[in-house]
């Protein structure tokens, strides 16, 4: 098996692991970490495809690699917004619960 295939298959497993955590973990911060794992799986899969595209003397296709840098930075920005939202939720309600609030009287 080539190294690209090995990492591509690993990436598929990472997506699955992250997806499971996103659904099964109740705490929003845990969901956020799991979502980042899932996202990194997508990135690694994309990176493995970039490595497959090695040609013209380059070790990998530079176009997907450059897009990966963009993706990592944007994922960080989205995580920062989510963390701020989460901290605000806790300050406002004293709870990190995502459960539906009981109906008001």
């Amino acid at each position: 098996m080539t190294i690209e295939t090995l990492f591509a298959l690993t990436a598929c497993a990472l997506v699955g692991i992250g997806l499971y955590g996103l659904i099964a973990q109740p705490h929003p911060l845990r969901k956020l970490v799991a979502f980042n794992i899932m996202g990194s799986g997508v990135f690694v899969l994309f990176g493995a495809l970039a490595k497959r595209g090695a040609a013209a003397g380059l070790p990998a296709d530079p176009v997907p690699q450059a897009l990966l840098i963009t993706a990592i930075v944007v994922a960080f920005a989205a995580t920062a917004v989510t963390v701020a939202l989460l901290v605000r939720l806790i300050e406002a309600t004293d709870s990190a619960s995502l459960a539906d609030a009981p109906p008001r009287e």
Binding site: L6, L9, L19, I23, P26, T70, V87, D94
Partner: protein, 313 residues
């Protein structure tokens, strides 16, 4: 030999991913995620993506990890309460089935990937001399796919506006985070005096080297932002007021210069973000130099979070 190393990295990566998902509490999960991010940087090296590896180590593992660790501290008290809201055994089994199905479908896709491999590398290589930069990644980011980079810088600014809007009304325009107080003769304060000069030099080197070698503005901006965070955390300087006009101007300056260069291309080279022949390198340098301060400010302020104190009276 290299196969053994790759197999070991893969096993460790999968183990850490499972660990972050099933760990007993959020702190352990985040600690696992930081290690996971560093290991991921190794994966990028194995996949011949040195630029991606630098970005992953700096932003994916470093900044995201620090951000999540900060959040764990704030959220400590809320974990026990949500523990009772955990998915039922049936729902967890459903999630596991779904996760396995998604993984299997993706793996099937990987195993039937097309041959010959589609690649844009043969188009990038002959076009590189026209850009005047030697690193193909930088060429893609600032010449062939400059629009993506412009949108990315814009996304960062919008994300910062999003984070700031979570400020309570009383703190709007004030300073983010706590005012850190540390022992002025302590280790942290000492490090915050010794490291920044070195960090700034390394940051600027990584920035400048990005033209021809792995590196570039994002990695450099992360290093510089980390230095600023260190000085803040050691209590040597306070976080800036988010209403400061100079600060806000600095935040939007990078994308605005980028757009201005794009419009110049419309007028001088026939399309938005096109570079006139012979002027590609100088224009790329102008964009990079304009973007660097913006990226440093935005990355550090995203880490700082929303304003919390010292708003309008």
């Amino acid at each position: 030999m290299s196969t053994v190393v790759s197999a070991a990295v893969v096993l460790l990566l999968l183990w850490l991913a499972v660990w972050t998902v099933v760990a007993r509490d959020a702190f352990l999960a985040v600690a696992g995620f930081v290690v996971y991010g560093l290991l991921l940087a190794l994966v990028w090296v194995r996949l011949a993506g040195i630029d991606v590896a630098l970005t992953e180590a700096a932003i994916g593992g470093g900044l995201t990890g620090a951000l999540l660790l900060g959040a764990v501290g704030r959220l400590r008290g809320t974990e026990a309460a949500t523990a009772t809201e955990g998915a039922s055994a049936g729902a967890r089994a459903g999630a596991a089935v779904l996760a396995v199905a998604v993984t299997a479908a993706l793996m099937l896709g990987v195993l039937v990937l097309p041959e010959p491999v589609p690649t844009l590398a043969p188009l990038v290589v002959p076009a590189m001399p026209a850009t005047g930069v030697g690193n193909p990644i930088t060429g893609v980011l600032l010449a062939f796919r400059a629009l993506d980079t412009l949108l990315e810088a814009t996304v960062l600014v919008i994300a910062l506006i999003g984070v700031w809007s979570f400020a309570p009304d009383r703190a709007w325009g004030g300073r983010p985070g706590p005012r850190y107080q540390t022992d002025p003769d302590g280790v942290l304060a000492w490090l915050a005096r010794v490291l920044p000069p070195i960090g700034v030099v390394i940051g600027i080197y990584v920035f400048w080297a990005g033209a021809d070698h792995p590196g570039g503005k994002f990695q450099a901006a992360t290093i510089l932002a980390a230095m600023w965070m260190l000085v803040q955390m050691a209590g040597l300087s306070d976080a800036p007021r988010t209403s400061h006009r100079g600060l806000r101007a600095g935040i939007v300056a990078g994308p605005l210069v980028f757009i201005a260069v794009g419009v110049l291309g419309l007028w001088a080279a026939g399309s938005f973000l096109a570079y006139p022949p012979g002027l590609a390198k100088p224009l790329i340098v102008v964009i990079e130099v304009a973007l660097l301060p913006t990226l440093v400010l935005v990355l550090a302020l995203l880490m700082n979070g929303p304003p919390r104190r010292g708003g309008p009276a």
